[in-house]
Symmetry: C2
Subunit: 115 residues, 2 copies
DNA sequence: TTCGTTGTTCGTCGAATATCGAACAAGCTA
DNA sequence: TAGCTTGTTCGATATTCGACGAACAACGAA
């Protein structure tokens, strides 16, 4: 388990963020996190293998879209909503609204029973 | 010269648009077209080879971000601003604002003399 | 018809991406 | 300590992407 590489707020770059949000699975993950709550990875459900999910979460993290916190052997992820709003006002809001309207990433969700 | 493949407004998909806008050159092209004017390809200046520019313009076209009109042997390109605003309200505006602030795609511009 | 202009397509290259299963490492827990 | 859980990393593929030069096609002009 390697330490996560979180870019500083000012280092979050637009093309990387756009690229991170160009995949339906990753868009779905962002939608799940859109309410601001922190989620354990175990609570995330996506139609891909475990290693692939890990990869997608890493892309989001490296782009500065999410922040991962480690607690013992498990990880919690959260949307960097404030940082993103600071750097790119209105962007995440527009992407989330569009994704909701189109159902992009509907295959991604929470495990049954997660609040 | 093959006919351009423009997706209908309702077929413009979020992930494709995000992907199209994840490259600095393409973001720069969109910034150049942001004023709504139609530009001849010859008026566009970008730090890439002609064939690469053609490729980027095709990616934007296929994603539904721009519309290309052919007139004789030359082409004119324009941002599909209204269509994009209809499908994804606020998205282009946010991207343009962020790109302006960060100077993303500054290497792209108009040929000297273009209005 | 023969050029010249203009944009597309082709072939190619290296790099990046998406995906998987399997192996691994770090903490809990029994 | 031995096992279990959890997430990462490692290959291995297959695909796509960005880039280039060169060849090609369409059209207007000489």
């Amino acid at each position: 388990m390697r330490r996560a590489n979180h870019p500083a707020t000012e280092d979050v770059a637009l093309p990387e963020v756009m690229g991170a949000l160009s995949d339906p699975v990753r868009i779905g993950l962002v939608r799940v996190l859109a309410d601001g709550s922190e989620r354990g990875w175990g609570a995330l459900r996506a139609p891909v293998a475990k290693s692939t999910l890990s990869h997608h979460l890493r892309v989001l993290r490296d782009a500065g879209v999410t922040r991962t916190r480690q607690e013992g052997t498990r990880c919690f992820v959260r949307l960097r909503r404030e940082d993103l709003d600071t750097r790119f006002p209105g962007l995440i809001e527009a992407v989330l609204a569009a994704a909701d309207a189109d159902g992009v990433g509907n295959g991604v969700g929470l495990m049954p029973g997660a609040t």
